[in-house]
């Protein structure tokens, strides 16, 4: 009996260790005192964090990446959620075409996208500005929003929407009071993916951020090509800490909301 519980737990634990270990290495290396990547580090220190926080060359791209990603989240989530709602109700043939179109950024090689977009954006006058980046990243982020929201939509019992209509809610009212709250987890996950997509995007940024709109991944890239120093590990660690904090915070908020409900009841 014990064996049937402990064995699977061990297997899962090992797989999770496999997932986490390289990340742990990155975190540890970020506190390294060495000037090159080595593990375990010869000694520890905060010099790479110091290097990061004292350099406008790192901070400026960080801010740019953050606000570009923020704008991408807004655009991709808005367009993607609307489209997911529409696509779900399209006739089959139209749905397949639309889904294929929306999902295509997942499979077209990045370099082809980048060159193609560069030519087009040069014509549109969008090269070298954050606006161009936001537009391009929105295209790349949208598949994640659409798939995530579509999945949420597919999981909704159609009778809930019918119930709302039968209770006198207009289609608009039904959407805002029933459908939207129900797909909110899917929308949030899509938004999260959209953020990561933009925040970590490099290849298109290499091409179209031309005039000084240097994003964080691009800054890392410029550094990484020929030298590998732990500053990038420090940047990654900061991102990880931020993410975990956000996920934990969201979890605690939800927990508290649930607890309140239980208390009232």
């Amino acid at each position: 009996m014990i064996g049937t519980r402990i064995l699977p737990a061990t297997v899962v634990g090992l797989i999770l260790l496999f997932l986490a270990f390289p990340i742990l290495v990155v975190i540890v290396v970020s506190f390294s005192s060495a000037t090159y990547l080595t593990f375990p580090p010869p000694a520890f220190g905060l010099k790479w964090y110091d290097a990061y926080f004292s350099s406008a060359d790192w901070l400026r791209p960080t801010w740019l990446s953050l606000w570009v990603a923020g704008a991408v989240v807004v655009m991709a989530t808005l367009l993607g959620t609307l489209a997911a709602l529409g696509i779900a109700r399209l006739p089959r043939a139209a749905r397949v075409v639309a889904a294929g179109l929306v999902l295509s950024p997942l499979i077209v090689p990045g370099i082809v996208v980048a060159i193609g977009i560069y030519y087009a954006f040069a014509r549109y006058g969008l090269v070298g500005s954050p606006v161009g980046l936001i537009i391009a990243h929105t295209c790349l982020a949208v598949p994640f929003v659409v798939t995530s929201v579509s999945a949420s939509l597919a999981g909704i019992d159609p009778r809930l929407e019918q119930a709302a209509l039968s209770l006198g809610a207009t289609p608009r009212g039904t959407f805002f009071q029933v459908t939207l709250p129900l797909i909110r987890p899917g929308v949030l996950v899509g938004a999260l993916f959209a953020f990561i997509t933009s925040f970590d995007e490099l290849i298109v940024a290499l091409f179209i951020s031309g005039s000084g709109a240097v994003t964080l991944p691009r800054r890392m890239w410029d550094d990484l090509r020929f030298q590998i120093d732990p500053t990038i590990a420090a940047v990654s660690t900061l991102t990880i800490v931020l993410t975990v904090a956000l996920m934990w915070g969201a979890h605690l908020l939800r927990k508290r909301a649930e607890r309140q409900v239980t208390k009232e009841a």
């Binding site: 560069y118 031309g210 800054r219 090509r225 020929f226």
Partner: protein, 368 residues
């Protein structure tokens, strides 16, 4: 997320762009110790107004260039310099074709420039009337001017290799110098080091070009099983040396000094290395073409050329530069007389004409 797998790793590691990475934070404190030479006057013809938009490689290379010649040029010429990262021949092609020329000047290689020029008209001609006479004629060509000298050389770990390997016959000799090897591959736009294969097979350095591809591949065959990595970007061989994954590898010289400074017992063997160069090219239709020309002329003068070597271990194209560089610094530069004579000049012209054939033959050989 799709971009993770599509990041172009060595996209700009093409032709002369290779030089970019040599921009390591090369013992920055040490460089700051010696006084940098200052250029106090320039001919009036190099003065002007407005701006010049220069594309380099970003990162520490950019920092070095700012200090070496962007800032002094602004002060002395009255022309404002705006620096952009991410210079790349594919972008120049796209820019010129779409008429959206964002840069007035780009750091490329003679190979990239001539390769593009072969396919159309992408660059302005260089006005050699205003170029400093100290610039070696070898570095001059019609659509660009070379401005930075670096080297692709043999490097080894002293603790793993007994003795001092010299030249490619030693690199190939895994009995005398046992241990794994790494060499530059073609993965993402790289150039196979056929010159080295030929020299290993006994071809004298001055007879390497034109390259006999068959002979080179036959020579490669002898070392194939010992090459555990065909690297595609400058950071990889450095990391391989650091991690003791290989005993010997080819490297770009720039990062080695930083590695040594960090305490890794690695050494460069300059003998039979390749001397490569970065070049300035002015994209066709550049708005500030005249300012770009002025900057090209300024940055290849002796003192600005010397200054860059204070920041990063790159050589100068101006024969007069060496007198401004302290001897201990000069000793690690590929343009130092003692080192320069051990290197062979990379033949961009041969590679422009034969790159596709050489690379696809190499690919086929590698996969066979």
């Amino acid at each position: 997320m799709s971009k993770h797998h599509s990041i172009r790793f060595g996209r700009r590691a093409t032709l002369g762009l290779l030089g970019a990475g040599l921009a390591a934070p090369f013992i920055r404190p040490a460089a700051a110790q010696a006084a940098w030479p200052e250029q106090t006057t320039i001919p009036d013809i190099l003065k002007g107004s407005g701006e010049v938009r220069i594309a380099g490689f970003g990162g520490t290379m950019n920092e070095a260039q700012i200090k070496a010649y962007y800032e002094p040029f602004e002060k002395i010429s009255g022309i404002k310099v705006r620096a952009f990262p991410g210079s790349d021949p594919t972008k120049i092609k796209a820019m010129v074709e779409t008429g959206n020329v964002e840069w007035d000047l780009a750091q490329l290689s003679r190979g990239s420039i001539m390769n593009l020029q072969k396919r159309g008209d992408y660059f302005e001609k260089i006005d050699y009337d205003i170029i400093d006479s100290g610039v070696d004629p070898a570095y001059r060509f019609e659509y660009g001017l070379e401005m930075l000298v670096w080297a692709q050389v043999l490097a080894y770990r002293k603790d793993l290799v007994k003795g001092e390997p010299k030249g490619w016959a030693d690199f190939w000799d895994t009995k005398k110098f046992p241990g794994e090897r790494a060499m530059y591959g073609t993965t993402s736009g790289g150039f196979p080091e056929m010159e080295f294969a030929l020299m290993a097979a006994g071809v004298p350095p001055d007879k390497v070009y034109p390259i006999d591809i068959d002979k080179a591949l036959a020579s490669y065959e002898k070392i194939k099983k010992d090459v555990i990595k065909w690297w595609d970007t400058g950071a990889v061989p450095i990391q391989l040396l650091t991690d003791r994954e290989v005993a010997m590898t080819t490297v770009w010289n720039g990062r080695m000094a930083a590695l040594q400074a960090a305490g890794v017992p690695a050494e460069i063997s300059w003998s039979q290395g390749l001397s490569k160069r970065d070049a300035w090219g002015i994209p066709k239709g550049a708005k500030n073409k005249a300012n770009a020309m002025k900057f090209v002329a300024y940055s290849t003068m002796a003192i600005p050329q010397a200054r860059i070597a204070f920041a990063i271990p790159y050589g100068s194209v101006n024969n007069a530069s060496n007198e401004y560089i302290p001897p201990d610094r000069l000793a690690v530069l590929p343009s130092a007389p003692d080192i320069k004579k051990q290197l062979i000049n990379y033949n961009y012209d041969w590679w422009i004409d034969n790159r596709e054939a050489a690379v696809s033959r190499f690919n086929k050989w590698l996969l066979s």
